[in-house]
Structures are given as C-alpha cells and as structure tokens.
Amino acid sequence: MKKVLLSSIVILIGITFIGRLSFLQVFSFSPNQILEDPAIKTLYDFPERGYIYDRNGELLVANQAAYDVMVIPRDVKPLDTLEFCNLVGLNKDKFLSNLKKAKVYSPRLPSVMVSQLSKEDYARLQEKMRKYAGFYIQKRSLRYYDTKGAANALGYISEVTPADLRKNPYYEQGELKGKTGVEKYYENILRGTKGVKYIQKDRFNRDIGPYKGGALDTLPKPGKEIYLTIDKKLQEYGEKLMKGKRGGIVALDPSSGEILSLISGPTYDPALLVGRERSANYNKLYYDSIAKPTWDRSLEAQESPGSPFKVINALIGLQENVITPKEKIRCYNGFYVGKKRTKRGCHCGGGLRDMNSGIYQSCNAYFAGTFKKIFDKYNKTDDAMDVWKKHVQSFGLGDYLGTDLPAGRRGRIPGKEYYDRIYGDNRWTWSYIVSISFGQGEVATTPIQLANMTAAIANKGFYYTPHILKKIEGKPITDPKYTQRKYTTIDRENFVPIIEGMQNVYNKKGGTAHWLGVPGINIAGKTGTVENFTRINGVRTQLTDHSMFIAFAPIENPKIALAIFIEHGYYGGRYAGHIASLMIEKYLKGEITRKDLEKKMLEKTLEKEYAKPYSGEPFIINEKSW
C-alpha cells in the first residue's frame, strides 16, 4: 500500500494536469485568437467611400476630410490652455473634462479631444501644433454633398450602433455605416473593404513591430463609385417647387423603371447630417413631429389615391368585357346606390359620359357604373372582388414594390376578407364599397406605387420594378429583379382608349387639367382630389383635400411617368397638376417656357393651410382662392 501510494498520486496528478490542459488548450481554444489576443493590436486602414453620381454623371456625393484632435494624456505637457481652447473652439471646462475622460479611458492610448474640426480651424491649429505635446491631428473622411437635394434618397452615414456590431462582425466601434437610403442599401458596394494591420504589442501596449512580419496584413479595397438613376437637375428642380409644400413626387423612366427623382417635402440639406453638428441637426429634424422632414413621403405617405385610381377600374372594365369605350352612362350630378337610392355626388357637371369623357372630366358616376358592371358579371360578390383585386395588384399596388430603397409602405388594396371583417360574410355588395372605384375609401397607395402604376399604363401593360441604381463603376446593373418586365393582367389594346382619355385631360375643353398642357409635348395625365380627415381634440374633422396627379409623356414614346401628392393642396389640377406640368417640361425640354406658371409654383406655399388644424380655431377648408 505504502509503496504504491506515491506512484498512484503521481499518476493521478498527471491525469488531472493533462485533463485541465486539454480543457484549456483543446476545448476552450477559440479560433478567433488574433482578434482577442491583447498582444496583437489590430489597426484598420479605412478605404475611401465610393462617390455617388447621378444618371448623367453629375457628382452628387463625394468625400471631404475632417480633422480630429487626438490626445495621449500621458504625453501632455503643460500648455497654454487658453490659446489652445481658442484655436479649437472649446471652453476651458470642456477642455478639462475631455482631458479627464481621456485619462480615465487610458493614459497611454489616444482619445478624441475635439472631433471634426473645419478646414479653417485645422489650418490655424496646424501651425501651432508643435507647441502642444501629446496632441496630434487625425484625418477622417466624411461625406461631402455636391447637391442640396435628394437627402431622402441618398440617406446618410453615421457611426455603427452596438446592435450593428452584434449583427455584423465586419464593423468595429467608431466605424461609419450607411443608415438610410442609398448609403444603406448599397453599403457593401460603397464602403469597400478595410485593410488590416496586425501589430505586436507588449504588456504596456507599446508597439514592438508588425505581427509575423506583416504576413497577415491586408490592403484596403476602395469603395466603388455608383451612378444613380436620379436626374440631379430634375430632383433639385422638384425640390425647389416643393418648397413650402408637403408631399411626395416620384418620377420614373417607364422604359426602364429608373427613378428619375424621388422627392419628399419638406426636405433638408444632406450636409446638415455631416460633421460636428450632425447629432444636433438630426435631433432637430427628427423631433419635428409636425412637418416630419425625415419622413420620406414619396415612399411612405400612404393615402387614398383618389381619381387616378379610376383609370384602373376602366381598364378592369375593358379587360372583363363588361363595358366598351363607346358605352355611355348617365351622370345625374351624381349617382344613386342601394335600396334607398342614396345619392352620391359628382363634380363633373352631369350628362351622358363615355369612357373618354368619364376620364377627362373625372366623372364619379361613370366609374361607379363601371364598377357595378364588373360585379354584375359574376354571380358571387366574392368572385368579382377576387377578380378585381387580382387586376389591381398586377399594377404593383397593395404590396411592397421591392425597390432598392427603404421598403416604404404596402399601401392597401382591400379584398373580400377585408370587407367580410367589416360587414360580415356575404353581408356586403358592390354598392357598399363603390367609393373604391374612384379611389376613395379603403384603397391606399404611396406616391411611388402610383408612379409605377402610371409607368405600367404608359408602357401599355408592363412595368419594371422601380430602382435607383443605374451603374456600378460604369457597368450597368444586371439584376433581373430590375431588368425584367412585370406584366399586368390587362391586354395591351385596352390601354389605348384609357390613354386617349388621359390625353384629353389636357386637350379637351372640360379636361381637369386643360390649362396645364406643355406646348409641343403630348401628355397623358389624371387629376385626383382626395378627401381626408383628421382628429382634432377627438373630433373627426375634414381637412382641405389632397392634391394628386399622375402623368406620363410623351405619349408616343414615354420618357417620364410621375405621381405627385401634395398634402392639402385641394384639387388635383391645382398644386399637383402644376408641378407635374413643370416637371415634365423641365425633364423633356430642359427649361421652362411658361415662366409665370413656374413663378407661381415657386412662390406659393401651403404653410397657412398646414397651420390651420393646429391653430385651435375653426377654419374653412378647400378655399376657392389661392
């Protein structure tokens, strides 16, 4: 027993040691060693972010240098604090508290003392820098905007959040990342790939040379430059027109689905979200809960489309063979629905309407009649509803479009389930829901969906998913998502009478936009006037109508299709119609011939209208004068 006691203990201890060692070295071993190793400092070399150009190669976004004043607290020698503070624009308290913070973080490692100096401050400071031991200047790259517009489309970049860091291990603390718009969607293309350098350190955190002689180091890959489909001139012009108005404008090239302009009003100068004042500016914009400048109305303003939606019902009527273009429906300055023959109003003036005049005079009665015929064709209301919904949805309405922009909103195209929920199963008929035939009531769309719908009409039956990226490094995009046609359920020939009606909106005397035509260009358009309500102190209150407009031109070979939504702009021919006319002329001709019209649009604002619900006093809506 005594002879083997010690041997057994030796063997037992040997097994214990080997067990513990295998636990440490084999089971706890993490392959991510190099990043966790305190003896290796990882230095990143950040590539320049890719530039952004518009469709014509005009620069939109580039980079600019900013200068951070860094401090290594241990190396700081007594200095003329007053002079230093004056140079960098700090007060003494802030200077001392920053220095203290840096010291707490680490006396040996650099901390930011003053972030993002302007070029001017930098120039002044640099000459005196040698006097301030322990301080040095580090260059950083920030975005520079060569436009005052398109803030909503371009998006902005800012420091990664802890959530970003958890989601994507590529990012390091303090790195910049696209947060919205193009900067976010094409982040991977724009940012490039950072280079890595591994430095061997000692336990005092001093560098003692490259790790493994630099064998694992990589060079940064610069970000790629991208060309957007945006037309800088049109975008900036549209934003100028939107001054003082709220709403959204989306202009597409129907032949490709390219977004020519994506305008949301009110907007802001993208340069506000760069540099030292970034977060102050952002808060100011973000917390403006009335005008909501950071809310992209072109993608997210989900409203009833109003009369532009009528053309879809006309198309469905034709496709379902329940109506012919020549067939007439009488308008009694309105129409009667239901067993009680309730009268619903119409503003077209009354009389017999065919499809053509139904469209250009925007007759509610005509489309209510068409809607009835669609439902009469089927024995069951449910079947008719399904058919109707299928046709509407084929225009890209009622769901996310799948653009390369923030997702926006789905919009709403109600179906039988929706109405069953409201009225009960089989307890509703077409007359309950007739409002949707002229785009009021339960239907809702966003401006980009309307623009896409217009493009589908312009193309006589197909569209390309709207997108904002045109080229990467000069190579056109090939993603089939954006280059393949999506067909509607309507036959090509059925578009002809519809487009004729839309053309007559401009050309016929009674057309709802007949005074807004552009000389020398054939435009097809459709006005919309959308009733809307809000709650003021809990009371449902009607506000001035939204002004809607869709149009495309030229009819023979459509180059631009647009949808315009102006909050509380009253009838469609007012603000939205004017802006549509100007935008089309600007894009197709390059300049505006009707200077008075342009001047009027540039000067008129709706601020008074927007102030009404907040005034606390009674107000009148839909004022005649403007």
Binding site: K2, I11, F17, I18, L24, Q25, Q33, Q200, K201, D202
Partner: protein, 427 residues
C-alpha cells in the same frame, strides 16, 4: 569501481529525462527573454545566456558526484546539514535582498540561493536519521526529531521571508510515511485542509452541518457491524468544529491580504461574476495571463518564438516561475502534455529506483528527492494552469535560475550515484 562499470550502472533514462527537461526549459527561457537587440546565445547579459552557462556548469558537480565515494554522502550528511543551516542563518547579516526576500548571497557574477541547496542537505540528513538502526518512526520521540530536521530549515526560510520555498520542505513528510509513519497522520492533515477549504467556500454553518451528518453516518454504520468507542468520534467531531470556527480568524487575522485574494480567487469566493472578472484581471493578473497564454496555444501551439503573449511580455516572471506558459503558448497541448508526461515518467522511474535500493539510506534519500521534485512540479504547474492558488516556486530543472538548477542536479545525481553503487554497498 572502474569508470566503465559506473557508466553501465547509471540509470540513463533518468539522465535523459533530466536533460530533456533542462533543454525544453532553456528553449522556453530563450523564447521568453529574447529581445530584438541581442543575438548570441552565449551573451551572459541575457537570461538565456546565463542559463546556458549554468547548464554547462552543472556538469562540474555531476562529475564530482560520480568521482567521489558514494558513502561520503551518508557519512557527511550531518555536517552538510549543519553547514547548510549556517548558510541560511548567515543570510540574515550578509544576504542580498531581492523583491523583499533576503534569500541570496551575492557572489559577484551570480546570486546563490542557499535554500535550494538546503533541500539536498535536509534530504540527506533525514535519510541519515531515519536509516539509523535505532530510529523507529513509530515512536513519538523519533517522529518529533524527524519533524524537527524538516522544520528547522522551514523556519529559517519562512523568516527570510520566502514562504513558498519553505512550504516545499513539508513534502519531506512523505518520506516518513514511506518509512512507517501511520497514515492517519496524513488523513488528519488532509481532513484539516479539507475543513479549511470547505469552510472558506461554504461557510462555517454548512461545514458544521456536514461534519455532523458524516460523523453520525460513520457512527451508525460502524455500530451496526461492531462495537466502537464513542470518545474518539466525539473528540474528532469537536475538534473539526473548532477548526471550522477558527478558519475565519486565521483567514482574516493571520493571512495577509494577498493570501486572502489568492484564496478568494482560487475558490471563487466572489459570487458576482463582474467583480470576479475584475479580480481575475487585477489581483489574479498572473494567473489570468498565464491561463490565457496557455489557452491561446491551442492543440499545436503557435510555434517556437511565435508566442505573441510571450513576446509581448504579458505573463510576469515568464522565464522563471511561469516558464510553463511559454511551452503552452508556443508548443500547445502537445508541448504541455509532453512536459507533464516527462515529469510523471521521471517521478515513477525514481520511485522504482528508490524501491530497488537495499540500503535504507539510499531509499529514504530517494524518497526525499521524489517528494521535493513532486511538490515543486505539483504546485508550479497547478498554479500556472489555475488549479491551485499562487505560490511562487519554480518548476524543477526548467525554470530560470542557477541555484535552482544546481539544487535539483545535486539532488538527482547524488541519488543516481547512490543507485549506481547499490550492488557495491559492502565493498
């Protein structure tokens, strides 16, 4: 005895393992102290240069040992022991203080640490005393004398103060067990240790409850088979509880703060994981860094001279007490397992050799050698891989240090000489 027969009788396995460990150790020292500026391995201003010199120099005592008569060691053991105690005493007036401990004589080119040599002397003296025909370990008086031989150097070393080196001598009590000291001494020691640790970890109340239950169970099971006297059980019960109660006093008043920290780290006495992590990185810095360095080596290591934490000097005292971390980082599990195996084989081989001695002096001395090497190996590697609290003693044969190397070389080769001579005892 001709030199030819001597060479045949030397246990070459032990010699090979000895030099393998010394060699691996030197590579570790080279890697952990190599700096950009120095080039030659014979540069005596560097640790690895000095250690290489010590390794070469260790051949002098080896040859000397083999050249002398084997029975000289037995004959002069008392003299050697007394001289070594005098050397320890001499430290108080003449010693050199490094890091707070007056443990060295300054010999100009080299600092001699006599406590390393006293291990040899004590092992010899203990062997001499126990092998005496008149000594009987079963007798209390003889036990006391044996303990005093062990205790004298401990007291002198702890006073330096170098408690780590002092503790090592307790290992020599193993020798007494081999020579017939009843095992219940060991059991009592282990129980006291267990009660101490358990009280720290779980508190007096739980330990008292535990002891009560165990004692009751013991009594009940034993009573069923045969009659037992209750007095020893009651005595044991009361002493255990007294020990458990006194633990808090010892821990708070006798221990110093850094001892308390080491225990609280080892036993994870801090419950809050954040605070524990902080303790690991501050008080437990050494252990934290050494564990991390070993862990980062993985299965196959980063390669010789490629250890980033070694190069970055993250592990303190890496060339001496923490030499094992260099092996762990650069050679991985393969390296550390090899070292553990080498030590295990060495110890088992030495036990085998000791058991084949006919002369009790040789056997007892052998057990002294084994105990001392084993305790160094156990405490050092246990500490480095985080199984035991931090006690600063070197890893035999591998850690940097001339006295350390000299001490273990003497210990081992005197034993090998005795072994080589075993058949010629009566010549």
């Amino acid at each position: 005895m001709s030199s030819k027969t001597l060479l045949k009788r030397i246990d070459w396995l032990t010699v090979i393992i000895h030099f393998a460990l010394v060699g691996i150790g030197w590579l570790g020292i080279y890697s952990s102290t190599l700096s950009e500026e120095s080039y030659s391995i014979f540069d005596f201003s560097t640790y690895y240069g000095k250690q290489l010199f010590f390794i070469c120099a260790s051949f002098v005592p080896i040859i000397f040992i083999f050249a002398t008569e084997a029975n000289l060691f037995e004959r002069f053991s008392s003299l050697i022991y007394v001289t070594s105690l005098l050397l320890l005493l001499g430290l108080f007036p003449f010693g050199k203080t490094i890091a707070g401990a007056t443990s060295w004589y300054n010999l100009g080119f080299f600092n001699l640490q006599p406590s390393e040599l006293v291990k040899v002397a004590t092992a010899l003296a203990l062997a001499k005393y126990l092998s005496d025909i008149q000594t009987d370990v079963k007798k209390r008086k003889d036990q006391l004398y044996a303990f005093l031989i062990i205790l004298a150097p401990i007291i002198l070393i702890v006073l330096q103060p170098d408690p780590g080196s002092g503790i090592v001598f307790f290992a020599l009590t193993f020798v007494l067990f081999r020579e017939g000291l009843p095992l219940y001494y060991l059991a009592i020691g282990l129980i006291i240790l267990l009660i101490f640790v358990a009280t720290l970890k779980y508190g007096t109340i739980w330990v008292v409850i535990g002891i009560s239950i165990l004692t009751a169970l013991f009594y009940l099971t034993k009573r069923a088979s045969f009659k037992v006297s209750t007095i020893p059980i009651i005595l044991f019960f009361i002493t255990s509880i007294l020990i458990s109660i006194s633990v808090k006093f010892v821990f708070d008043s006798v221990f110093e703060q850094h001892h308390r920290d080491r225990f609280s780290l080892w036993l994870r006495l801090e419950k809050d994981p954040k605070k524990l992590e902080k303790i690991r990185k501050t008080i437990g810095y050494n252990t934290y860094q050494s564990e991390k360095a070993i862990e980062s080596g993985g299965a196959f290591g980063k390669g010789f001279l490629q250890g980033t934490r070694t190069k970055g000097d993250f592990v303190p005292e890496q060339h001496s007490d923490y030499i094992f971390t260099t092996i762990g980082e650069e050679w991985g599990f393969v390296g550390t397992a090899t070292v553990v195996l080498l030590f295990s084989i060495l110890l088992l081989r030495l036990i085998f050799i000791a058991e084949r001695q006919k002369n009790p002096f040789s056997r007892i001395y052998g057990y002294g050698v084994i105990s001392i090497i084993f305790v160094h190996y156990l405490i050092n590697i246990g500490m480095v891989i985080g199984l035991l609290p931090t006690i600063g003693i070197p890893l035999p044969l591998m850690s940097y240090g001339g006295s350390n190397l000299l001490g273990f070389t003497l210990l081992l080769f005197i034993f090998l000489k005795l072994d080589a001579n075993r058949l010629k005892e009566w010549d």
